[in-house]
Symmetry: none
Subunit: 225 residues, 2 copies
């Protein structure tokens, strides 16, 4: 990317760019600020429900959806390249912390809101960046929901393993057998039997689907592209 190219695209000459933004880094910084403004605008416009946990979940999903909808802008936003953009990032952290404060006021938080906010934000950016920059390694966007619920379960108070133990044990049994299905070929299973057996194993639901939040909620059209 060259300043000449963006000036030609904007229909002006170079000096106006340097008058407006100082230098090239200034232009990049202004762009990043603009992306942060869009992000924060979406965050501030999010309607709040009476259940802070629901809002926090929606906040995570909207974060991931924003990243997937604007991958280049998002990588710029969280990229460490340019001069500091701490203000917008701190504001995002503050918005998240407000929801966490509400959760803490209800006695449902196990850790300090600041700590919970840092856990959520860092994990969320990590998942989003991975989904964007390594789609070959992370082909499934449901990863976002999995990590989200993992972090939320860790910061929430209450029973350590609230999920039903029956479905939990079943899921563990499925993964155990899936891990060892290779050792079962060619004895006692033929290759075809192992293939079908593995296929059936993946069809076993993990637990009662009504209990846990649906991961099928589409992340796509949560933001305006």
């Amino acid at each position: 990317m060259s300043t000449r190219a963006v000036c030609e695209a904007a229909g002006v000459q170079q000096p106006v760019l340097y008058r407006l933004f100082g230098d090239k880094d200034g232009l990049l910084a202004a762009t990043v600020d603009h992306v942060w403004d869009q992000y924060l605008g979406m965050k501030r416009a999010a309607a709040k429900s009476e259940d802070p946990l629901r809002d926090i979940r929606a906040g995570w999903d909207s974060h991931t959806a924003f990243a997937l909808a604007h991958p280049h802008a998002y990588t710029l936003m969280v990229s460490p390249g340019l001069r500091a953009v701490p203000e917008a990032a701190a504001e995002a952290m503050r918005i998240l912390r407000e929801d966490l404060d509400r959760l803490a006021a209800q006695g449902r938080l196990r850790v300090a809101p600041e700590t919970a906010a840092r856990m959520i934000m860092s994990a969320n950016t990590g998942v989003s960046l991975s989904l964007i920059t390594r789609p070959g390694l992370y082909p499934d966007t449901s990863l976002s929901t999995l990590v989200r619920d993992a972090i939320h379960a860790a910061i929430l108070a209450g029973p350590a393993t609230p999920a039903d133990p029956a479905g939990d044990a079943r899921a563990a049994a499925v993964t155990t057998l899936l891990a060892s299905v290779g050792d079962l070929t060619p004895e006692p299973f033929t290759a075809a039997e192992s293939a079908l057996f593995g296929e059936w194993l993946t069809r076993i639901p993990a637990a009662d689907p009504a209990e846990r939040p649906s991961p099928a909620e589409d992340l796509k059209d949560r933001t305006t592209s």
Copy 2:
């Protein structure tokens, strides 16, 4: 960073750089490859214990420590800027997945090893990057441990199956699934499928501990690959 500067620092002229690396991106790519080699070398040299969970925890901590020790190299490594480096990243994921496979073979994993590996890797890079690039927002390194345990708690099977360190997680998984095969009919299995599925389950022998690779073999196998 200019090619002239690195050539002067190396005591050579520009054309040797272009002969060796093609162009500037080639030099950057070679640097990134070198960093990945260091990372993978550390990962491969890590001694494996008899407890895969301990190894996975140590792997997370060494990942974070590597990032904190070489922040610039790490940001280069995970930065999406240059041409693809999928091979080293895939190898890192494979190394992690080997530990997770061992965990799954012991019946202690709730999700598929691939899924668990992606959850761990994405969250770990997210935490490491946050600690590096936003030290003002993430002043405490213990964030890494918190997120680590959150992810691990989410992928680990519940406190069920406390015994069976010796090896019969497979048999336990078989009995678990046998007990719940009735709940799987008529969905997602037809009666005939459930019948065959149950029959196959009974054909699975108890795991033979000698069949599993020993940690020493594991290590040798890794270093040769």
